[in-house]
Amino acid sequence: MKKIIFYFIISSLVFGETKKWDAHSAYLLPQKRWEMGLFQPFRYGYSESIEYSVYPLWFFVIPNFSLKKSQNDIAGFTSASQYKIVYPTPFLNMIAKEGIMGIIAPDFQMPPMLGLSASWLMSKNMAGVDLTLNGGLDMGFAFGDLDTRSTIDIPLVYHRLGVYYNNWGFHTGLDVQKNISEKIGALADIDLRLLPGLNGNYSLEHKLLISWNKSENFRVLTGYKFVMGEYPYGSDMHLLPYIPMAETWVPIIELQWARKKR
C-alpha cells in the first residue's frame, strides 16, 4: 500500500495529469499525442511531464514556442507552469508598408523584439466541472527604437503587442469546461491582461465555445469571443469574429485534429 501511495506521490511530482482537448488547463497532453486546430497551436505531448506547442502557420514570420511543464499539485489542484517565447518582428515589418494590408504605417521600422511569458496554471474537477485558474507575468524587450505610434489599435492585437511598448504586464484568467453529453462539451473563459502605465492598460476577454467531439481525433467548436478594454483612443468592446463588409458578427468555427504518434 505504501508503495502505491509513494508511486502516486512521485508520479504527481514527475508526471502531470494528462487530458485530451484541454489546451488551456494545467493538464498536459498524453505522451506522443498531438492536437492542432485552425486557430489553435500545434501541441505535442513530449513526455508525461512536458508538452510543447507552436503556431506552425505563423512560425516562419512570428517564430514562437511554448512549453508546459507539470508541477506539484497544490491544494488538490493539478498544477503546471507554462513558458512562451515569441519574436514578432519579421511579421510586423511585413505589415509596416504602403498600400493595402499596410497595417502599420510605412514610416516605422520595427526593431528586433522578444516576448517572454511565464504562467502558472491550476486545474481541478469540481462537481463535474473542470476549473482552471491561471496567472503570470509577461515581458517584452525591444532592441532598438520602438515608436509608440506604431501600435496596432485593434482588439486582441493591441494588448498582446502592448507588452513590447510597456516592457511588462500581467495576465490572469479562469476557464470552466464541462461535458454536457458524451460528445458535446462547453468551454467558457475569462482572461484579464494588465499593462500598468500603458495608454490602454487593460483588456478583458471572454470566450464561450460549444464543442462537438466527433472522435478522439477530431472535433468542431463554435461560439463567440467578447473583448473589452482600454485603447489609446478610449474604452471599447467588440464581439468577435466580425465580418467588416457585411457588418455582422459570425460564430467562431474552429476545427481541431489530433493523433497519437506510434
Binding site: A96, E98, I100, M101, A105, D107, H238, L240, E247
Partner: protein, 366 residues
Amino acid sequence: MKKFLSILGLLLILGCDPFVTEFEDLSNALMYEADSKSNETYDSGNVKVVTWNIRFGIARFPFFGDSCGDDVILDDETIEKNMAAIADSLNAIDADIVLLQEVDVSSKRTGYMDQVQYLLDNTNLNYGCYASMWKADFIPSDGIGRIDAGNAILSKYELTDAERIQLRLRTDQDGLTQYFYLRRNIVKAKIPALAQGSKDFYAVDIHATAFATDNTKQQHIAKYVEILGEIQFSGDYFVTGGDLNSVPPGSVIDFCLSDVCSDESFHTDADGGPHKEGSYFDNFEGEPNILNPLYEAYDAAIDSDDANLPIHLTHGPSTSDIKYDRKLDYLFTNGIWENTLSKTHQASWELSDHLPVSAILNVGGE
C-alpha cells in the same frame, strides 16, 4: 437559457458597432460645447464668418494621401503645436461662425486628439457640431488605422437642429475601396441667436470631392445648391462655405504638371491625358463653370471677378514650394457680405494646404 440569450443579445448590441460607419442620407450631427463658455450672447451687429480646411492639424506635413509625401502619422507634439497655432489664428480672426473641413476627432494619424473639442476649448468659440466623412475602426491600408475625420461648424452662439447630409459616394472606385473610402457630407445647423424676426439663420458647411474622375463633384455641388435653395425658398438666411474642390470660373483648370510627383507622368497621351486626380478641373462637361449657379444666386465673399487674383488663392500642394496657386475655398450667403472686408488669410499658409477665408455679414442688410 433565457439569461444566456439575454447576455448574448447584450453583447451583440454593445460589441457590434459597425467596422466602417455608413450614414443615412440625413442624420444628426454630433454636438459639442466648450468646457468654459465666454461672450455667447449676440447683441446685434455684423457677424464674421470664416471657412478653413485645417488638414487635420498636420500643416504642411508630407502626408501620403494628398501630396507627394509618403508619411502617415505625425508626432503628438507637432500636432499640438499646429493645433495651437490654428487656435491662435482663429482667435486673431475672431469669427462668430467657423466652418471647418478635415477635422479629426479620433484618428490614429493625429494621436486621437478631438480637434473639435480642442478648438472650442482654446478659442473664443462656444458651440460646435460635427459630421464624420471618414469613420472606421480600422483602415487596413498605409497604416492609417482608426479614423474619424469630418466637417465641423463652430460658433460663439448656440447651434441647434444640426444635420449631417450625405453626399453621393464616388462611382469610379471598386466596391472594397469604396467601402473603406470617404463619405463626404454637408453639415447644416441653425443658429437661433442670429434669427431675424421670423426668419431662421443657418450655417452650412461642405467639403466636396477632390479626387473623383466621374461626375461625383457635379452631384456634390448640385446637392449643395439644392440645400441652399431650400433655405432660400423658406425665406430664411444662411451663411455657407467650405472646400468645394472646384476652381472659380475663368481659372486655370489644369494643375497636373505643377502637382506632379517625381514618380508620376501626365499629359503623355495623344488626347492630352492622363490627368492627375484632384489637379484637373475639366473632367466632365461644364466643370470649369460648376460654381456659376452659386455665384449667380448668392453673394460671394470674394466676387467671381476677383476670385482668381493672387491675393485670393487658397490652396497649394503641401509638398511643393508653392504656397498657394488656386482657389478652392469659398463663402456665400443669401444675405449681404461687407465685400470690402472679405479676406483670404494667406499669412496662415504654413498651417494647412488650404487658407482661411473670412467675410463679414451685414446682418439685416438687403
